[in-house]
């Protein structure tokens, strides 16, 4: 969905009050930017060969963002992407989903029960999962956001909505949180709130 520009009075509580609010930084709100480590075209080619795989990375590294991005690409190719929402429980029947046109996306493989993992492996279904550690499945991508990437995303956010938060704050937070971008955006959100409320 395209978000068009709106006339916005900054004294009104609105989405435009803070460029680091969740609505702007959550997985899928920012684009996944290919880099030396991750190329989405190559990832999808590898997936087409092996039929399943994992996207590996620490917390806040962009795994879910990458998953959503390749999900959109697969959908454009006519593939039915089924999101396995682990908070809602496991799909009623994997057998019903097993179809060449379906790909199962699992965000957080470690949250699956042992029984679910076994059922998944035995189903023959195509799947992609995000993980924090290596599994016995093909590795499609390892996501580790660089400071340069964080700076590019910072530019996207701050070009959209002005802020007094500067790049040194981003750099300090990036190093403080070892590249966990989720925590970085939380830090910058708080800083923007503090700076914008100064007398």
């Amino acid at each position: 969905m395209t978000q068009l520009a709106t006339r916005s009075d900054v004294t009104l509580p609105s989405r435009r009050a803070n460029p680091f609010a969740t609505c702007w930084t959550r997985p899928g709100a920012l684009p996944f930017m290919d880099c030396d480590q991750v190329n989405q075209t190559e990832l999808l080619s590898r997936f087409a060969e092996v039929g399943c795989g994992q996207i590996l990375g620490p917390h806040g590294s962009g795994k879910t963002t990458l998953l959503k991005s390749i999900g959109r690409q697969l959908a454009r190719e006519g593939v039915n992407v089924v999101q396995w929402d682990l908070e809602s429980g496991e799909p009623a029947s994997l057998a019903r989903l097993t179809c060449q046109q379906n790909v199962l996306f699992i965000d957080g493989y470690e949250l699956l029960s042992l029984a679910a993992k076994i059922r998944l492996r035995l189903s023959g279904m195509r799947w992609i999962a995000t993980t924090h550690r290596r599994l016995g499945a093909p590795l499609l991508a390892t996501v580790t956001p660089s400071l340069g990437l964080a700076q590019e995303l910072f530019a996207i956010l701050t070009n959209r909505i002005s802020t007094e938060v500067q790049l040194p704050a981003l750099t300090a937070s990036y190093h403080c949180h070892d590249g966990n971008l989720r925590e970085v955006w939380f830090d910058l959100y708080d800083l923007h709130e503090r700076l914008s409320r100064r007398g």
Binding site: S14, A17, P168, S173, Y189, L191
Partner: protein, 158 residues
Amino acid sequence: MSQQDTAVATQKHIVVSEPELQLDRTPAFYEPGDAVRAELLLPGSIAGSLRSIELSLVWFTVGKGDEDLYVSQFQRHQISPAKGKPGVSPWLLEANLPASPLSYNGRAVKVCWAVRARLFDKSGKVSLIEQPLRLGEVAQAPVVESDQQVSGTSGGHA
């Protein structure tokens, strides 16, 4: 035609370069129970390509965590050739604002009210326009100087 009539007639044929939601108050400050009136204006280049339009009055939360959204009033309009006339917008949303929740400019979470328009064009593309408004007058959360500073980010300057 009187000068006033001319002004009214001119206002009804506002030409816009991009979709715009106009509220009936500037600034957009309202109290519980007030009526709010919003008009969607569309440029001719877009009006003809639309299949349907949704207008809604919503409140939602913005902040660091999960977001909530509640639709207070909703309208859906299918576009007919007559309604696609550029510069003249028949798309109006009129509603009475409830008693709560009041708009709140908090630090961790903000409660926001807005009129929203979703435009569905014939190719399937969906566009969103949002025009915020304030309900009530709750003082914004102040700065608390004793809050822990982000490491190395005091003031955020080089």
